[in-house]
């Protein structure tokens, strides 16, 4: 994510984003001028996969302009307590995201996603890439890309999910939303009911903050705090990211992905500072809908390996793993209050992260530092693009020694919608 810190940039960015919206507003009485482009209509190839998520969004097209505008908002309220102590009720606007896409020419398109987090405290360019398609099986992408590790990182829009909090394994073990400047190729192949996809990117990557951060554990998202990574690589070494996935029509999709590279500064000005230390992440993801029941299942599991110096603290683990499983069961589909396809669902998420897999050198005992959560809830979708969610969340977090866990529980209510 590109951090823009000065208020001047904020104003310029806001102005640039709002200008087409203002034009759209002034023309709202002309239905031929402003029209809604359904999701994925910009994709030249059928067969949606997780890798298409960035374009699988509703856009507003203004007349015959080649530019389309969209976005989503999330607003929540939460009331949590940890071991009986509550900070009380709070209201949050975790993110307001705007997309701007442009069909520059045949087979050339651009999309950017700009996110305003926590009421504007941070403004991030999460995605800003130019796609040049030579063939459905070969597209060149360059710019700020979202590294395709797991499924959530590329497919993280709030309105698509029936849970308010993002999965901990995806956002705190893996660093979603994780994007970097880079280049790569992607494409899809088809045969019968099967679709195969691939993605491969080289980009800037991580830095030493992943093992030197206030979280006091190996923490890949710490690298997102480095604004310099959009200007230059921390160590001159590329981060490799690749994913292959396969989808069978009416069955589901499975993806396998890898991201890795050197994370430390091993030399500077020709002087050796350390040996090259690498990290590797692997992820497997899937999504499917159970026939007849309509139950939607999706999940992701990831493994992280980091070359942590042996002489560093054991607080910083060299291996992590974790994931989540979402179960979404629609229980009522009907026309209601004028909404043609309103859906009421019962949902449940299970989460687990082991931040530090291994044993203590001193005692041989297991290192704990793990996290579990169960999140039952209900969701209501008056339309596919808008969701109201009520979640009850219960978490257990054990410290590195495995002492009695800190237990956190609470209620969240929120809305999220594309606009």
């Amino acid at each position: 994510m590109k951090h823009i810190s000065t208020s001047g940039w904020h104003k310029i960015g806001l102005f640039a984003l709002l200008l087409p919206a203002a034009n759209a507003a002034s023309a709202q009485n002309d239905s031929t001028w402003l029209r809604r482009v359904p999701p994925a209509a910009t994709d030249s190839v059928p067969g949606k996969m997780n890798m298409d998520a960035v374009y699988d969004r509703p856009f507003l097209q203004m007349g015959k302009m080649p530019v389309a505008l969209g976005g989503y908002v999330e607003a929540n309220t939460a009331w949590f307590a940890t071991d009986g102590v509550s900070e009380g009720l709070s209201f949050q606007l975790p993110r307001l995201t705007m997309f701007l896409s442009s069909s520059i020419a045949r087979r050339i398109r651009f999309l950017t996603e700009i996110e305003f987090e926590e009421g504007g405290r941070e403004i991030n360019i999460e995605f800003a890439s130019l796609d040049i398609q030579f063939h459905p099986a070969l597209t060149l992408r360059g710019g700020v890309v979202m590294n395709p590790i797991g499924a959530f990182n590329q497919n993280h829009d709030g309105p698509k999910w029936d849970f308010i909090s993002r999965p901990v394994s995806a956002t705190q073990m893996l660093p979603a939303t994780w994007s970097n400047v880079g280049f790569g190729l992607y494409g899809k192949f088809y045969t019968g009911d099967w679709t195969f996809g691939y993605e491969a990117y080289l980009s800037n990557g991580f830095d030493e903050s992943i093992i030197s951060n206030p979280e006091n554990r190996t923490f890949l998202p710490a690298a997102k705090e480095n604004p310099e990574r959009f200007e230059e690589s921390f160590n001159g070494q590329p981060l490799y990211t690749g994913k292959i996935s396969v989808r069978r029509q009416n069955v589901g999709e499975i993806g396998l992905s890898y991201m890795g590279g050197v994370y430390n500064k091993f030399q500077e000005d020709g002087l050796t500072l350390d040996r090259k230390r690498r990290l590797h992440t692997f992820a497997a993801d899937f999504n499917t809908v159970v026939p007849h029941l309509g139950t939607r299942l999706l999940g992701e599991w990831a493994w992280v390996q980091v070359d942590v110096p042996e002489t560093y603290g054991q607080q910083f683990g060299s291996r992590q793993h974790g994931g989540f499983l979402d179960v979404v069961q629609p229980v009522l589909r009907r026309k209601w209050l004028g909404w043609e396809k309103a859906v009421f669902s019962v949902v449940c998420r299970l989460e687990y992260v082991d931040w530090n897999a291994g044993t203590f050198r001193e005692t041989g005992g297991d290192i704990a530092d793990d996290f579990r959560a169960v999140v039952p809830g209900i969701s209501f979708r008056p339309t596919a693009q808008t969701v109201l969610r009520l979640n009850y969340r219960y978490e257990w977090q054990r410290d590195i020694l495995g002492n009695p866990p800190a237990r956190t529980a609470g209620w969240q209510f929120g809305v999220s919608s594309y606009f």
Binding site: A81, D83, S212, P214, N216, D274, T311, F360, G402
Partner: protein, 396 residues
């Protein structure tokens, strides 16, 4: 309409019943952390500031950590303000008698056995005497700090004049320049009574905190300004305010609350504790002197220590010492909070100075020297009596 009614009723239920779905507050007696009762609002604010600095502030390379260190934060070594785990053991080395540390030029007295990437941690010099020390519980430290020197001296009997086999004595230590002796301090040839640390070489909580920042985390302060890597004086990496907030936090942590005190086994065990002679060193009750923090001033409290050095015999003689203590002398550790140690040590006991005892009985059986008589008396108890005595210790 039915759905609206359902949603409305559910919302009302949620508002009413919400708090019942939260995890309950643990019993205060099951926790070691938390402030002493009766602090003023201003003191509560200061306690919270110290709590954040102690438990939440994690040092990194950019905020001054190391480059050689033992741990990255205060809270890493004192989970829940309880006893530490062997993972966080300190190694101190270089001194075998009262002539001082002979290995200061080689990194003594504390081994920083961890290092930032690209640096090599310290290695224990060949032949250097050393001891491994587990972090102690932080509980009730303000009470211990306020015991008048005269009371400590009244408990000492260096020449065993009463002939009971117990000869506790203070560790007389030199104060660093940044410390001021208490108004009622007793000195002996320019030295003062140390009361913190396994060998009682630390005068008060300011010295303890400043030393821990410096020697455990490699953080320089105006109190301890020397970099542990270069030995050069460097700019402070932590503010005086933060150090003082931490000192206030430690000073105002509550004393452990005994549990199951009405249980017959515990009551009997307490009697046995006195009968076998444990209480001669592990003094049940001490009293604080005057303090500007009202809840700490002039109070009886129950730490089960006399803050004195005792010879524990060859069983606990590691060949290393500090100050004027001999290698087999250790300060009597407070027993309060003993039963909660497992909750900060990952579910099992690591007792005595280096965690070598896996349970309370093993710790008792490692008492030699001045503790030999009590150990023998304990061994003479029948199984039921031992169980009751151990139940009492677990209740502390």
């Amino acid at each position: 309409m039915i759905w609206l009614l359902f949603f409305s009723l559910f919302t009302i239920w949620l508002l009413v019943a919400c708090e019942k779905t939260f995890p309950p507050l643990p019993d205060d007696a099951e926790l070691l952390d938390g402030p002493v009762e009766g602090l003023s609002e201003a003191e509560n604010r200061r306690f919270l500031a110290g709590d954040v600095a102690f438990n939440d502030e994690v040092f990194t390379a950019t905020t001054g950590l190391g480059p050689l260190f033992v741990s990255t934060s205060c809270g890493s070594c004192h989970a829940g303000d309880g006893k530490g785990h062997p993972m966080n053991a300190l190694t101190r080395f270089g001194q075998w008698d009262d002539t001082g540390n002979q290995y200061l030029h080689l990194g003594g007295p504390q081994l920083q056995h961890r290092a930032l990437p690209g640096y090599s941690p310290e290695q224990l010099p060949s032949g250097a005497p050393f001891a491994k020390l587990l972090p102690p519980a932080n509980t009730g430290l303000g009470f211990l700090e306020l015991v008048p020197d005269a009371d400590i001296l009244a408990m000492s009997d260096p020449d065993d004049l009463d002939g009971d086999g117990i000869s506790g004595r203070p560790n007389w230590i030199a104060l660093p320049a940044y410390l001021t002796a208490r108004p009622d301090a007793v000195s002996q040839t320019g030295r003062y009574i140390g009361r913190f640390g396994k060998k009682a070489v630390v005068y008060d909580l300011l010295q303890q905190s400043a030393r821990a920042y410096n020697q455990d985390m490699g953080i320089a302060s105006t109190y301890e300004p020397f970099d542990t890597y270069t030995s050069h004086e460097i700019d402070p990496e932590v503010s005086n305010q933060t150090v003082q907030d931490v000192v206030f936090y430690l000073r105002t942590l509550k004393a452990p609350i005994p549990r199951d005190t009405d249980a017959p086994d515990v009551a009997t065990g307490k009697t046995l504790f006195g009968q076998v002679g444990c209480a001669k060193c592990h003094r049940p009750t001490l009293r604080t002197g005057p303090s500007s923090i009202e809840p700490l001033a002039e109070r009886d409290f129950h730490p089960y220590t006399d803050l004195l050095l005792h010879d524990m015999g060859p069983e606990l003689d590691d060949g290393y010492t500090e100050g004027s203590a001999t290698t087999s002398e250790w300060r009597t550790p407070p027993l309060w909070g003993l039963g909660l140690s497992k909750n900060s040590q990952g579910g099992q006991y690591y007792l005595l100075h280096d965690g070598r005892a896996p349970n309370i009985e093993a710790a008792i059986l490692l008492h030699g020297g001045e503790g030999s008589q009590s150990r023998a008396a304990y061994q003479a108890l029948d199984a039921a009596q031992k169980t009751r005595l151990l139940s009492f210790l677990e209740s502390l």
